[in-house]
Symmetry: D2
Subunit: 265 residues, 4 copies
């Protein structure tokens, strides 16, 4: 984004470079100056020792996967992309998030809603807010984010939000506050790592005014790059989290999700 | 979106309603007038016979899954969300697409880049362009889309596009034209249903100036909604397509992806 | 097996034929006599109308998938094959099972342990025992199976069994009885459809004398048969059940599985 | 099996012990004598330092996963179990295999067909045959295995085999020889790591006399052992191989698998 570039050998090695503030950059095989990288520019390449390196603009995906400092489990692109669609986010939307953690999802939300939108990032741990702020300190980007250092239980000042995403240990305790902050028919999204949390969350959604409910997990499978020997990579990520989505109603439904689900499917 | 609403029982039944132009709406158990639905408004509910129905705003996801008329296989949300991130799309981006098909992905791209962005949708089948246009005929939405009724092989007029997505039978034949239309370091995304097409595409990327390359498939697994009997649904979608991503370089790499991939991983 | 044959068009149509007792057999395109099928024999083929049909010996897989009358969810080959290995079954082993249901797994266990082995199939529903008996009524096969019409809670008469497999609503209630029937270091296998049951079962195993514990699910993905258009089938089975395996100890472990698992992994 | 035992802490640490021939056995926390382990016996436990260890009989699964010396990629239990069912193996069956590799699948086949069956293991690499022989050198086990140090192209001496399993670089070159060795209606099973090999194999099956054909992959997902935090493990095996199954006919089918598959599904 903006002023940052990526230097890569096209495979595992990737290095984020800020040409304006860096001097010499170490590579697996030699080194290069930031000035030289700026001169080569995006899409170009250079040799260093036996290896060729490529210069790319840093995009949001690179920032999430290689640029962020993480102290918490982040929401990965396979989930982040899907939730953009499920929460119906786009330019101009007003969205809330808790906990902000390292700011990875905050960055995705910020990009999606743009300068006409708003991101309200709640986080109870002051150190994580500092970390997220540093991770989001890219000139001209992420200026629509406002951090709130408080628990959701203390209340959410915003009203008529379009969507709210929860990445909390006990999301079921936050649903009442979230519903008060959402516009009617607004979206709530939740990620939890364990099935026991899914059960608790589903019970809470069932006891409240939320429908339709969706519970999914998303798996991504990477393939090797040999055209004559096409096959998935040997190892894959087996689990990151379960995603839960629901829409906010003004009155509670007559029957629980389970009952209706059985009737319906 | 905008003027449309969804009436749903919270489960399988979903009906898109345009209150301004409709009269009485049939339901599985009785009927309701559009006027009544407008009065109830988003988030509200009403009873019809033994069943309760809920009124929701129509969001983009609803439009893709329930509102579109389809004559072609569409790109599904699980893939569409991921490609938004991989193609680094956001407000203001200029993106190309071919073939536009029923316009499902066109809608997703349009929403993501917003009024400050551009979507150039190429499609060789005039009937599909008509269909896509009807599917995208929602007041105030999708006005950043321009359809091009021509094959990519005839050339792409745009230059310095940020990204291009290909949903074609033979995407490898379009790569040269796409690369000419992309800015250096821009993104190309491709979906193909078969592994033989992946092989052909990877060979073409390897022969050109594209790096890094990623090949993935994305699986989504839905869970039933019974909190005391948590389990995935019995059936799931087994396959939609393989996704391929690469970035455009100004010069071809020294060695092929396979070779480098083996060294690197 | 033995006296039964399969008539198939090589794809969806499959018909089990008992030549000794049948006359004319209806086909999607015409008919054939049992006498003719016997004459053609396994591996041979014949035309009926525009279609060609093939004669095959009926194997156990065919019997499970096409021959059995089912009134219950059966344990599928993807799970049945894996559990043969995990329960260390082979000729001469003595194995218990509850509930026997339609007899599908009973058939697999019976085949695996052979004439020198024993299968003890417990089932509390007399109608299901009748069904399983009919499903296993193939001359010369399954003679090592003994059905027990009683709940496990009434006690298991056998001692020193090598393995026991549970397909019950509440398997945790049967573990004490099962452990008494197993030889020290013997195997218990369990299938349950829901994650809530996995939790309850794991708690019970943890409270008892079982280690190591393994919890898995097995997914099978079928591919289409077009060599130039290789791709998985559009739909797949999303879930059948979770499998749990453990070995029986003579004394309870010091610490619970969770604690040790965290230390260890 | 037979005279071997496993010493384990119930989790990652597993050590195969042959009490008859070993003296003192080193453990992560201390040591134990083989004599002591024999005295404790299967199912029993002992403390060494702060840790408790358990004694178990060595089963076939343990032998495959922890006991074998491997120099090649082995066929894993998730595939091995499934192929036992698909190849219709059980006591008394006569089965062929090539290449035998480290003997892992040989062991599974041997156990399944028992003392009344036969396993013919073909392997062109003499060093691998030595390795497989050492891996199968357990008194009283695997005596039904006969190794053949020759390529399948030189011909298979056996006739009327019930099934043949191929784990070769170019399985399509072996199909004619395999078919000559199989009884009519017999089973062929094949594992290949890449989709390009699947394509080649399917073309060869299509050109020959084999039907029905099945192509699958099997995925196994392991769960963590915390009852209050149920979730899959973070990482899983993403790929081992594609499995192909077909039955041998006496005459070639009229139409290719693809054509029929399309008609049929």
């Amino acid at each position: 984004m903006s002023d940052r570039l990526i230097v890569t050998n096209g495979y595992r090695f990737r290095r984020v470079v800020t040409p304006a503030t860096e001097g010499t950059i170490g590579l697996p095989t030699g080194s290069v100056t930031a000035e030289e990288i700026r001169r080569i520019g995006p899409g170009g390449s250079f040799a260093a020792g036996p290896e060729r390196y490529y210069v790319l603009t840093q995009d949001l995906y690179d920032h999430l996967m290689y640029g962020l400092r993480r102290e918490t489990q982040i929401v990965y692109p396979k989930e982040a992309g899907y939730l953009l669609l499920r929460l119906d986010l786009g330019p101009g939307r007003r969205v809330g998030e808790a906990g902000a953690g390292s700011g990875a999802l905050t960055a995705v939300l910020s990009r999606a809603v743009g300068t006409t939108g708003e991101v309200h990032a709640y986080e109870i741990d002051a150190r994580r807010i500092d970390l997220a702020r540093r991770n989001l300190d890219l000139p001209g980007w992420f200026e629509n984010v406002r951090f709130h250092h408080q628990p959701l239980e203390d209340g959410i000042a915003e009203r008529e939000l379009d969507a709210f995403f929860l990445d909390l240990e006990r999301p079921w305790e936050a649903l009442t506050a979230v519903q008060a902050a959402l516009r009617p028919s607004g979206h709530v999204g939740i990620v939890v790592p364990t099935m026991n949390q899914v059960t608790r969350t589903l019970e809470a959604l069932d006891a409240g005014a939320f429908l339709p409910i969706e519970i999914v997990e998303i798996l991504i499978r990477n393939y090797k790059l040999a055209a004559q020997r096409m096959r998935p990579r040997d190892r894959m990520v087996g689990h990151t989290g379960y995603l839960i989505f629901a829409r906010s109603l003004t009155t509670a439904p007559d029957r629980c999700a389970e009952e209706a689900d059985l009737v319906d499917s």
